[in-house]
């Protein structure tokens, strides 16, 4: 789960990680009041779940409270397009008004899980403000990696190694060591999957602060972080994906025209792949889970069909514990209830598969049955092309 910058900073402050002073505003009046409180000269930052805001016009400096109000007025309601939002962009609903600081250096600090070693790793680079992916591509040696024991947290010598790698000395060095240890504690305690400080700001006065912060959280651990769950902003998510999540359906919208309904994430990906190999383009990823009851199939139909690009649907179910005849009954009753505006190809495999096919054939519905994944893929691609 992702949160906004202002929410991530709220969490950082709980762990004593220094951030600039800031206040969230939803309109010009609030922005003016916030800027006054912060001393007048402020930065107005659009709050959306995507990076690259600066280049898209979502981060602006205001010399006084009136200008902050003016900028906020322009920013709220605008559609911000960055290289991470896609061409459709995101609507700005909130801005963060933050004190403007005197920048000496901008560095990079990030923590995420390194799957190869099964440990979190702190990444540090002197090239702050630049995306870490770009740094990694141009000059991988510019990134210092410090693996951290997820149970022990960042040990003092490890935090010192990070501060060293960032080229810091004196007071800034000490503050950075403290910063790294606190950030790591926050990352572990909050079950984060990503904590990215870009840039990490060194001020002319020698302060070390998180100028920007991106935090993602482990969805599986949200049960013990109710406060984080309350930070979820549904405006930032695809409405279809949100609706699917209410039904425990794992749905991701794609650009093609062949809808897919599959049980199991791996088989769902494999189904998308075989549609492509057969000359089509998948419209979505959808894992209906192990159950595939009539109700679930109905929900999945509605979600797939609300994507108007869908010209045909492939249902690919490997009936394991769940028998194929039960699944076929589910498909038939859901089809009757939803009504089928596009051709549907059904491939069933597993327990009682013959009985399942018979139920589909006798239903009188325009369901096309298939044997095996390749047959199913070629049939559904032909159907999507109107053949």
């Amino acid at each position: 789960m992702k949160v906004h910058e202002y929410q991530a900073k709220e969490i950082l402050r709980r762990y004593g990680v220094p951030t600039p002073r800031g206040i969230v505003a939803e309109n010009a009046d609030e922005a003016r009041a916030a800027a006054k409180e912060l001393g007048g000269r402020v930065v107005v930052k659009a709050q959306i779940h995507a990076g690259g805001r600066g280049k898209g016009g979502g981060v602006k400096l205001a010399k006084d409270a009136d200008e902050a109000a003016e900028l906020t007025k322009k920013m709220i309601g605008m559609t911000l397009v960055t290289h991470q939002t896609g061409p459709e962009g995101r609507v700005v609903r909130k801005v963060l008004i933050e004190e403007a600081l005197n920048i000496d250096k901008e560095l990079y600090l990030g923590i995420t899980l390194d799957r190869r070693i099964g440990m979190p790793v702190v990444m540090a680079s002197k090239q702050g403000g630049m995306e870490i992916e770009v740094v990694a591509e141009r000059d991988p040696s510019a990134i210092h990696r410090e693996p951290i024991d997820g149970v022990l947290g960042a040990l003092p010598f490890q935090a010192r190694a990070v501060a060293d790698a960032l080229g810091l000395t004196g007071d800034a060095y000490k503050k950075c060591v403290d910063f790294v240890q606190k950030l790591m504690r926050c990352y572990i305690d909050m079950d984060a999957s990503l904590a990215e400080i870009n840039p990490l700001l060194i001020t002319k006065e020698g302060g070390v602060l998180a100028l920007d912060c991106k935090m993602n959280f482990d969805d599986n651990a949200l049960f013990r972080h109710k406060d984080v769950v309350e930070m979820r902003d549904l405006n930032e998510e695809d409405p279809l994906e949100v609706e699917a999540s209410h039904f425990n359906l794992n749905y991701i919208k794609l650009d093609g025209n062949v809808g897919c309904m599959v049980n199991g994430a791996g088989l769902a990906m494999g189904t998308m792949d075989i549609i492509k190999l057969a000359g089509g383009q998948p419209a979505n990823f959808l894992d209906v889970g192990g159950g595939a009851s009539a109700e679930q199939v109905g929900n999945a139909f509605r979600i797939i069909l609300s994507d108007k690009n869908v010209k045909a649907i492939l249902i690919n179910i490997f009936g394991g514990i769940m028998r194929c005849d039960r699944i076929a009954e589910g498909v038939v009753s859901a089809s009757r209830e939803v009504g089928l505006p596009v051709p549907v190809v059904v491939r069933l495999e597993g327990t009682n598969v013959e009985l399942g096919k018979e139920i589909l054939a006798k239903s009188g519905l325009p369901l096309i049955t298939a044997d095996g994944m390749w047959d199913a893929a070629t049939k559904v691609v032909a159907a999507a092309q109107g053949k």
């Binding site: 899980l113 799957r115 990694a136 997820g150 149970v151 999957s193 599986n220 791996g266 490997f318 514990i321």
Partner: protein, 300 residues
């Protein structure tokens, strides 16, 4: 022969009185697996669907001689269940539970390393964890320890290892005529207990396995590491499929996560690396079985 699970494996089910635990304990017993009981704290001394229930894994090991545990405990308590089994000296721990926090698994792995070190000193068997978030392990005709449909399997020479549940069933379905030695689902979690390399090494030294099917997916670098291992250590033919050739980049994997694996993680890169290691990579998931059969016949 087979790997890790056979007719002598004595299984207890952790979370046996739950809905999933009950259903699958019965399914495993019906398949012929020796299910010697279950564990539900506070319900020890009772019986449930004909299974003896114990309060702890330690008790189940002492009284029922269990050497394998099958875990259906809900996510918030699953890591504890894994650690309890390791502490009790259970040799094979199969965790089906989906949705365990990464931090919990990090702690569980840490505990397992230490408890296996203690076992080494004591001359006892170490614990192997399969999963979490996996279908389990099956040696056809001998033992089914997991949630896979038993009846689609048949004994034979194909060893299967997979990160995906239903794609494992797909591979089993496609190799029905030849049969499988053992099929292992290692699970889709970022920190699995048993990885591809563990399974490849075990299949390589298992006389019953003649051809290996390996099913990977996008993300991480487990497939690349497996490719290097195959190149240097595996003499048996390996057939591979990688799911997610059409998956959009950037979903689920955070940006910083992608750089850690050094720009690796896409299906195309994984497939190229596997091919370079001499692995028979198929493009369509429907070709896993036919390619395995072709390779197997060529070997005879």
């Amino acid at each position: 022969m087979a790997i890790w699970a056979d007719k002598n494996t004595r299984v207890i089910v952790q979370g046996i009185t739950g809905r999933e635990g009950t259903f699958h304990a019965i399914q495993c017993r019906d398949y012929g697996t020796q299910v010697v009981g279950g564990v539900t704290p506070g319900k020890g001394g009772t019986t449930h669907e004909g299974f003896a229930v114990f309060n702890s894994v330690r008790e189940a090991r002492q009284k029922a001689g269990a050497n394998c545990s099958l875990i259906f405990v809900p996510p918030p308590f699953a890591a504890d269940a894994i650690m309890e089994s390791a502490d009790a000296g259970i040799e094979l721990i199969v965790c089906i539970t989906e949705g365990i926090p990464v931090n919990d698994m990090m702690r569980a792995h840490d505990f397992l390393r230490k408890s296996n070190a203690r076992a080494l000193v004591a001359g006892a068997m170490p614990s192997r964890l399969i999963g979490p978030n996996c279908p389990g392990i099956i040696t056809p005709g001998q033992a089914k320890i997991g949630i896979m449909p038993g009846h689609i399997h048949s004994p034979g020479p194909i060893g299967i290892v997979s990160r995906s549940g239903t794609l494992t069933y797909e591979a089993v379905g496609q190799t029905r005529a030849i049969g499988q030695s053992t099929a292992v689902g290692i699970g889709g979690d970022p920190l699995p207990g048993t990885n591809f390399i563990d399974c490849l090494a075990a299949f390589e030294s298992d006389p019953a396995t003649e051809v290996i099917i390996m099913i990977g997916e996008i993300g991480g670098s487990a497939e690349e590491e497996a490719a290097a291992f195959v190149k240097n250590n595996v003499t048996k033919p390996v057939v591979a499929f990688i799911a997610g050739q059409t998956a959009p980049p950037g979903r689920r994997m955070g940006h910083a996560g992608a750089i850690i694996s050094g720009g690796k993680g896409t299906a195309a890169e994984k497939m190229a690396t596997l091919r370079a290691a001499g692995i028979h990579v198929v493009e369509a998931p429907s070709e896993m079985g036919s390619k395995a059969a072709e390779v197997w016949k060529g070997r005879r």
